[in-house]
């Protein structure tokens, strides 16, 4: 495939991620911070997010599996996940975390378990999408092209 075609695909793919709410403006902010002196910035930050999130999801699973759930502890983990997803622009993950924290506050175990399932789902979805995006970028760079900057209307 020609570079121009892959670039086109990348632009369309990125736009769809925004349209579908997977990513928000914060992700664009991060892309804008990437330059020749910091060429892998976005991948690096997102990789940190992946590592951090998987750790948190494990801890949440364990914490909610206890006979006496420590809701403060659960809330602490969700707060962290909410923060990091917000920092990279993973909007849908962040939104589930908001609902999740509300259930923690009222100590609703069913609500929490549902949210855990949802947040895992959203996390794996956005992980998949971002990995696809990075793969497209790699293809462009490998072909000697440059990564197009996305201009968003909003």
């Amino acid at each position: 495939m020609e570079v121009v075609q892959i670039q086109r695909r990348l632009v369309d793919y990125t736009k769809s991620l925004f349209m579908e709410g997977f990513l928000d403006g914060q992700f664009l902010q991060l892309q804008q911070l990437q330059d020749e002196s910091n060429p892998d910035f976005v991948v690096e930050v997102v990789s940190l997010f992946f590592d951090d999130s998987e750790k948190l999801l494990n801890e949440l699973t364990i914490a909610l599996d206890q006979p006496n759930v420590d809701f403060k502890k659960v809330d602490g983990h969700v707060h962290q996940l909410k923060g990091s997803s917000s920092s990279i622009g993973a909007q849908r993950v962040k939104n589930v975390c908001i609902a999740f924290r509300n259930f923690c506050e009222v100590q609703n175990i069913e609500g929490c378990l549902t949210c855990l399932q949802q947040v895992k789902q959203e996390y794996y979805l956005v992980k998949n999408k971002l990995e696809t995006l990075f793969r497209l970028e790699q293809q462009i760079v490998a072909s000697g092209g440059s990564i197009p900057m996305i201009e968003m209307g909003f």
Partner: protein, 194 residues
């Protein structure tokens, strides 16, 4: 633009999230600041050369700047951190010999009472996370203001210390990182910095 001879501003960023530390570091570097990041309030105090119990005497005179290894011009800290919160750190700094250090708080939660509390305790700014480049462009005037205030204060202290009737050259010259070789001549008022 950093002018020749002018030292860069150095910001100390405090956040327990590795993701946020990476982001804030990049944002600050984009603005041409020197950045140091630490992951706790305790480490921040250590970097500033303050001990955790070093904070309750407001009458402690400012020590010479070689008290710290590197001069820090501003502290930006997350509010929610395990152990010492950003508010606790702010308080400790304001009660120490570094009380003039500008401190900025960041938080992912928009809690008006929290914001008020921080501003009342002396925080210069309160930013909601995720922090933007446009937020951080507010830092320069804060650091500039403090730097000028410190310089003026030093000028005044030297002028007050030195009587016009003094005939001899000042014997003791206090070593200081940002004195930049200011010499005090016989009976003259101190050199004005360009």
């Amino acid at each position: 633009m950093v002018m020749a001879g002018e030292s860069q501003f150095h910001v100390l960023a405090v956040d327990d999230s590795i993701i946020d530390r990476k982001i804030i570091q990049t944002l600050l570097k984009t603005l041409s600041y020197q950045v140091t990041t630490v992951d706790s309030g305790a480490k921040a105090l250590e970097f500033l050369g303050l001990h955790q119990d070093d904070t309750t005497n407001p009458n402690t005179p400012s020590p010479p700047n070689n008290h710290q290894e590197v001069e820090v011009n501003l502290v930006i800290t997350d509010y929610c951190m395990p152990g010492m919160t950003g508010y606790d750190l702010l308080k400790k700094i304001k009660e120490s010999s570094l009380r003039n250090m500008p401190v900025v708080i960041m938080s992912s939660e928009n809690v008006p009472s929290r914001i008020t509390r921080c501003l009342e305790e002396g925080a210069e700014e309160f930013f909601l996370k995720p922090v933007r480049l446009s937020d951080l462009s507010k830092l320069r005037p804060l650091m500039l203001k403090t730097k000028l205030k410190d310089q003026n204060q030093k000028q005044e202290e030297k002028a007050a210390f030195q009587s016009p009737k003094l005939q001899q050259v000042e014997q003791k010259q206090q070593p200081s990182n940002d004195d930049k070789g200011k010499a005090i001549d016989e009976g003259l008022s101190p050199e004005k910095k360009n």
